[in-house]
């Protein structure tokens, strides 16, 4: 068994909280540059230029890109030959979130109970998804998720007879409903197949994919291309103020499903599509 110290996990999670909320990944930065060149609406361009300046100020002055520094979502890929010492994995991740949000001057946006709504004041707990895989590594990916866009996400339990056309219509309707509320240009994560919760998880995972990468399934790649074009024809545009760049990318992940079902989940993300990863 390979041993990994809990304190190293805390440190890694803490660093990722600060990194992800101040710096977008390179692919996202490139996509935002391209968007600025592509946009032909004057107001849309004005919005994208402000967003370029915003990214610069965020990085130079260490001010979070967006004040909604999100609820921390963590994907854990744990090699089955790893043993965690000096503490347990779950506690270490939650502690890393606490320290990261505290030390990074990030906003505490989590309430303890959905109805009582008292702030936990340290942004814990995060939402953690575990996967156990062969190997000796521990991979952590942290994706702080803002709720302007999260609130616009949807699940559709379609019928097999709805087919690909039904899925397209559902995805497009979710994007249109989101409109200006989700801070476009968006990144759209879609999960298709599995069960109710599996497709939701896939849709969130889809947001982690590099923005210029397509599905390696031919028919899904074609669907991504077609839908991105359709989304950008809606006219929603940057900030929802009209234009040709409504989404930077749409990523679709699929999974086998039941003979009776066609679940489709759409997880909408804004242009602040944040994530950071570490392999320990």
């Amino acid at each position: 068994m390979r041993q990994i110290e809990a304190k190293d996990i805390i440190q890694a999670v803490k660093e990722m909280c600060i990194e992800a909320t101040h710096f977008l990944t390179k692919d996202m930065v490139c996509a935002m540059n391209d968007a600025c060149e592509k946009e032909c609406s004057p107001v849309g361009k004005q919005v994208l230029e402000q967003l370029q300046d915003n990214l610069k100020i965020a990085a130079e002055e260490m001010i979070p890109i967006c004040q909604d520094t999100g609820m921390a979502v963590v994907f854990v890929e744990l090699g089955q030959e790893v043993s965690i010492v000096g503490g347990n994995l779950e506690d270490a991740i939650q502690e890393g979130i606490r320290q990261g949000y505290q030390e990074g001057y990030l906003r505490m946006s989590v309430v303890k109970d959905p109805f009582i709504r008292e702030n936990t004041k340290d942004n814990s707990p995060g939402v953690i998804h575990y996967e156990v895989l062969p190997g000796k590594d521990l991979k952590l990916t942290l994706a702080p998720k803002g709720f302007g866009s999260e609130n616009m996400s949807k699940i559709f339990m379609l019928k097999p007879s709805d087919g690909i056309e039904g899925a397209k219509a559902a995805i497009l309707s979710a994007v249109k409903d989101a409109g200006p509320n989700a801070c476009p240009p968006m990144v759209v994560g879609v999960g298709i197949g599995g069960t109710f919760e599996k497709c939701a998880l896939l849709s969130k995972k889809a947001l982690l994919r590099s923005v210029n990468e397509h599905s390696n399934l031919k028919h899904i790649e074609e669907l991504e291309v077609e839908l991105l074009d359709a989304i950008n024809r809606t006219g929603i545009g940057p900030g929802g103020l009209g234009g040709v760049v409504t989404a930077l990318a749409i990523h679709i992940e699929t999974y086998p499903t039941h003979i009776a079902g066609l679940p489709v989940a759409v997880n909408i993300c804004c242009h602040v599509n944040r994530h950071a990863s570490r392999i320990l």
Partner: protein, 183 residues
């Protein structure tokens, strides 16, 4: 059109603004989001006074990230306005003249805006670092226990916004999207 406006803004000036105009706002605005709106609304329901006078003010739907040492405020961009829709008509009837946020508003809000000659403006969502530079002072004036959701008195200088819904009820989201729609 591009305007530089000093708050308070007269009814005459407000009436001139049209959906699509860019405005650089200077003066005092107040930040309030979900929890502060809920408390204010509950006060009104119980006939209790509000913690601030809302007559003639501009509200900014925003909850900032914490300020670093020697900074006025942290990241400070708009939050989604529709969550405030339930509480907004009552505040408009008490004199709120401007609202800054992002995203669509309900029909009830639009009606109340027309009735009260008020304007809804969008700041760019996700531009909190940039927008923080236009805030020159910040002071918590109510509901301190709410943390990021407390009501703050903010002094702004050339704070950039775009008029989305004007006093006549024209809605830029609807107009501009129709213009670029190629479905």
């Amino acid at each position: 059109m591009i305007y530089h406006l000093q708050i308070p803004v007269s009814d005459k000036e407000l009436a001139k603004l049209e959906a699509g105009d860019t405005i650089y706002l200077s003066g005092v605005i107040y930040s309030a989001r979900d929890a502060a709106h809920k408390r204010m609304y509950e006060n009104l329901e119980k006939n209790l006074p509000l913690p601030i006078s809302v007559d003639q003010i501009f509200l900014y739907y925003m909850g900032p990230s914490p300020a670093r040492e020697n900074k006025v405020i942290g990241s400070a961009g708009p939050t989604t306005s529709s969550r405030m829709d339930k509480y907004t008509p009552a505040l408009l009837d008490l004199g709120v003249k401007g609202m800054i946020g992002k995203g669509k508003r309900s029909l009830d809000v639009k009606e109340a805006m027309k009735r009260n000659n008020a304007v809804y403006m969008a700041a760019v969502g996700g531009a909190g670092a940039l927008l923080s530079k236009a805030i020159i002072s910040s002071e918590v004036v109510a509901y301190e226990d709410l943390g990021a959701e407390a009501i703050r008195k903010l002094e702004v200088k050339d704070f950039p916004v775009i008029v989305v819904i004007d006093c006549k009820g024209n809605d830029l989201y609807e107009q501009a999207i129709a213009e670029y729609n190629k479905e």
